[in-house]
Amino acid sequence: MNLLLVAASLAIMTTMALALARALLGPTIFDRILAVNMFGTKAVLLVAVFAFVSGRPDVLDIALLYSLLNFVGVVAALRLVERGKDYADHKKPEINKDGSNP
């Protein structure tokens, strides 16, 4: 059983790595925050699986907490981006009259 859970945590870590790659590649700041959000969700699952691998169910509290705080983190990061629009990699795009991107 443990072997399967270890394999599962490896799979979850691969997913996290993929998300991290997207966070590094961008291209817009929103892709990065989205990837970090996904990274956080996967981290919750990883902690949950870890609790079962190590046989310490009280570790689940950390997963519980992270699922709540991940959200606060994303919202806070968005507030920062909203405040300084040029923190984004590209300058704010000029929106044409018909709303399309240049």
Partner: protein, 139 residues
């Protein structure tokens, strides 16, 4: 994000839960991971979510600066007070086996009060830092 309805509705549902969770972590320090410091940070994150969803001024009304400063001081006072009380019972500073007749009971009481002091101070100081920086950015 000014008028983000979903954020507001979600925050309304989540904030009481996060606060309760903070208190759970506070009081279960001896059964599961956690303790005063973590509880303080979680509590302050609940208020932070409130500030992010409803605005800084609304949040500042709920937790006024004066109350925060008082809470931070109260926390330190609790911590130091417990230490001094154990001095009066003839032990070392913070030797809280002497707080009750039974050493283990005394340790139990001592650890709960100490953790409470830590939690109060950390929560208040975290919020003070947040409000100070957030106001500086706004101005």
């Amino acid at each position: 994000m000014r008028d983000n309805l979903i954020l507001r509705v979600t925050a309304r549902i989540l904030i009481p839960i996060i606060i309760l969770f903070a208190l759970y972590v506070q009081f279960h320090g001896d059964y599961s991971p956690g303790g005063g410091f973590q509880a303080g940070v979680i509590f302050s994150s609940a208020i932070l979510l409130y500030a992010l969803a409803f605005g800084l001024d609304t949040a500042a009304k709920v937790v006024p600066n004066q109350a925060l400063i008082a809470t931070a001081s109260l926390g330190v006072l609790l911590y130091a007070g417990t230490g001094v009380v154990s001095l009066f019972f003839g032990g070392e500073f913070l030797n809280y086996s002497l707080l009750a007749d039974e050493p283990t009971t005394g340790q139990h009481i001592g650890i709960i009060i100490i953790e409470l002091g830590v939690g109060l101070t950390v929560a208040a100081i975290m919020l003070l830092i947040f409000f100070t920086f957030a106001r500086r950015i706004l101005n």
